[in-house]
């Protein structure tokens, strides 16, 4: 079949669509940042984006390379200190949706961004959890966006950097957590949501042209499908235009040495 967009673009656009105009969103770098800003530049112009550097209601014209880029501060309503950000804004329960990614995810949407292999003797040492442990539990709900690969979607993650639904069922609540946790996982192949009871991730929508077999072979556990699996609407011309312009501006800006 012919496609005039890439799987990565489909992922970003699907993630952007999941956000609402009245969301207050805690944004991670990379795919989440692209999705959140695409939402702001399309259907959700009033969405509040917060980055953990302390920038509140930021409207970057280009995507930041780091969560502390000057662009975020220059376009923010206000910039607060990092202790204030974590204490008043995140822990204070003012964020509706947190957006995370990771190196590994399991069927209950627990995430690993710390280490592949044992913590004490890593095979691959990753940069670390960043803000994820508290973002995962303090935001009203969590969206996760990651490229769908067998080595990332694994039966057992090597390290639980941030809590998803724990061991499934009501395990999340047993950790004293009252927020909803991961409600959507958006990949370049499909959209997954946790089963209402077991909390196991279940495919609810396949992106256009993606087969069940492709999702099964790209997932490290026996992935479940909802009774009715939808087809994700293909990106619109407008969504692609806005996303590509954002990425072109970003590329031009980051290519320049200061």
């Amino acid at each position: 079949m012919s496609m005039n967009y890439t799987p990565a673009e489909m992922m970003t656009i699907a993630a952007a669509r999941a956000l609402a105009n009245n969301d207050v969103c805690f944004v991670g770098i990379g795919a989440p940042s692209a999705a959140c800003n695409l939402a702001r530049l399309t259907h959700a112009p009033d969405i509040v984006l917060i980055y953990e550097s302390g920038t509140i209601e930021t409207k970057p014209n280009i995507l930041p390379l780091s969560i502390g880029d000057g662009e975020l501060c220059e376009t923010a309503l206000v910039t607060v200190s990092v202790p204030e950000m974590f204490r008043y804004w995140l822990q204070g329960g003012r964020v509706t949706t947190g957006f995370l990614g990771g190196a590994q995810i399991d069927k209950f949407a627990n995430l690993n961004t710390t280490v592949v292999g044992p913590y004490e003797k890593p095979e691959v040492r990753l940069p670390g959890g960043g803000g994820a442990p508290e973002i995962a539990t303090s935001c009203g709900q969590i969206f996760i966006t990651m490229s769908h690969k067998k080595r990332a979607f694994v039966e057992k993650i090597d390290f639980v950097t941030s809590l998803g639904h724990g061991k499934g069922g009501d395990d999340r609540a047993k950790h004293g957590v009252t927020t909803a946790g991961p409600t959507k996982v958006l990949t370049d192949l499909c959209v997954m949501e946790p089963d209402a009871k077991s909390k196991e991730l279940t495919v609810v929508s396949l992106h256009p042209g993606v087969t069940r077999e492709k999702v099964i072979e790209s997932t490290g556990w026996r992935i479940k499908f909802a009774d009715k699996v939808a087809v994700t609407p293909a990106p619109t011309a407008q969504e692609l235009k806005v996303l590509r312009e954002l990425q072109a501006r970003t590329k031009a800006a980051h290519g320049e040495a200061a």
Binding site: E52, C73, V82, P83, E120, R125, E134, T137, H175, A258
Partner: protein, 282 residues
């Protein structure tokens, strides 16, 4: 009352081998010129605290300044890893280091508790997170009023804080603007502090009553080092040198090319070398 000193003198007077030191700045205002001076003076066995070690600690670790690193995210933002940090942690080159790993919220709270003179920080965190298993400095504590189980980490108590800011006045009062991170908390959590600045002015004008200002009597030394945050950035002055952050990956991946770079750009240079990066936005 802050003394206005040369960078060499400020480091000489305030930073000793084995000190617990935080050189803060959140992507923004990272005190690179001071880091280079610490390398030139050959400080050893430092207990290095930084929320994100960034290139500044990659350079210091690679030159053998560190014994321990306390951090929450050890990468090169948007680029990849910190090769010297990993080589020291995984292979003990040039010396073995230990790490203490936290979350962002934990370190932010720990700096805040340090500035407040408290023994520990309490926050709603680390729930279901595995760092609790590998870091003995993360404990549970029960709220005496509600019974809620919360997380506790020790306050950061520093020997020295080193930060960079836009401006100081001639009395050593320091003004920070833009992303302010935990610089104020770090200085107030430290016994001694060094602040490098883009400019020293007669008075901090215009008068902004709610600006982030550290009074000169809370700072040990102020040093005029224009461009001293390069390759990070100084809001209102110069932009982040993203191209250098990308280039660092290749320089730092190899021990020899790293040493050659340090020789050329640190050991055989002085703080005036940063002036070429200094500029003030119109």
């Amino acid at each position: 009352m802050a003394a206005i000193l040369s960078l060499a003198q400020a480091v000489e007077d305030n930073l000793k081998d084995g000190d617990i030191v935080a050189m803060e700045g959140f992507t923004h205002l990272i005190p690179f010129a001071a880091g280079h001076e610490v390398i030139r003076q050959g400080r050893k066995r430092l207990n290095l605290i930084r929320m994100t070690p960034d290139l500044i600690y990659d350079q210091m670790i690679g030159m053998g300044c560190a014994e321990k690193v306390v951090f929450f995210w050890g990468g090169n933002p948007g680029v990849g890893s910190l090769p010297r940090f990993r080589d020291a942690h995984e292979n003990g080159w040039p010396n073995k280091i230990t790490i203490e790993e936290h979350s962002h919220a934990a370190m932010a709270n720990a700096f805040d508790a340090g500035a407040a003179g408290l023994p520990f920080a309490v926050f709603r965190g680390y729930r279901g997170a595995e760092l609790k298993r590998v870091n003995p400095n993360i404990k549970d504590i029960t709220c005496p009023f509600t019974g809620e189980k919360l997380a506790a980490v020790p306050a950061l108590k520093l020997d020295v804080a080193i930060v960079h800011a836009q401006k100081a006045d001639i009395r050593g009062n320091v003004l920070f603007e833009g992303i302010v991170g935990v610089q104020k908390q770090a200085v107030l959590a430290a016994k001694r502090s060094i602040v490098t600045v883009e400019e020293i002015v007669d008075t901090l004008e215009p008068h902004l009553p709610n600006a982030v200002i550290l009074p000169g009597w809370t700072v040990s030394a102020v040093v005029h080092v224009p461009g001293g945050a390069h390759p990070s950035y100084a809001h209102g002055y110069y932009k982040r040198d993203n191209a250098f952050y990308k280039k660092w990956d290749a320089i730092s991946r190899d021990r020899d090319s790293f040493r050659v770079w340090i020789g050329e750009h640190v050991l055989r240079k002085d703080p005036d070398a940063f002036a070429v990066h200094a500029k003030k936005a119109a």
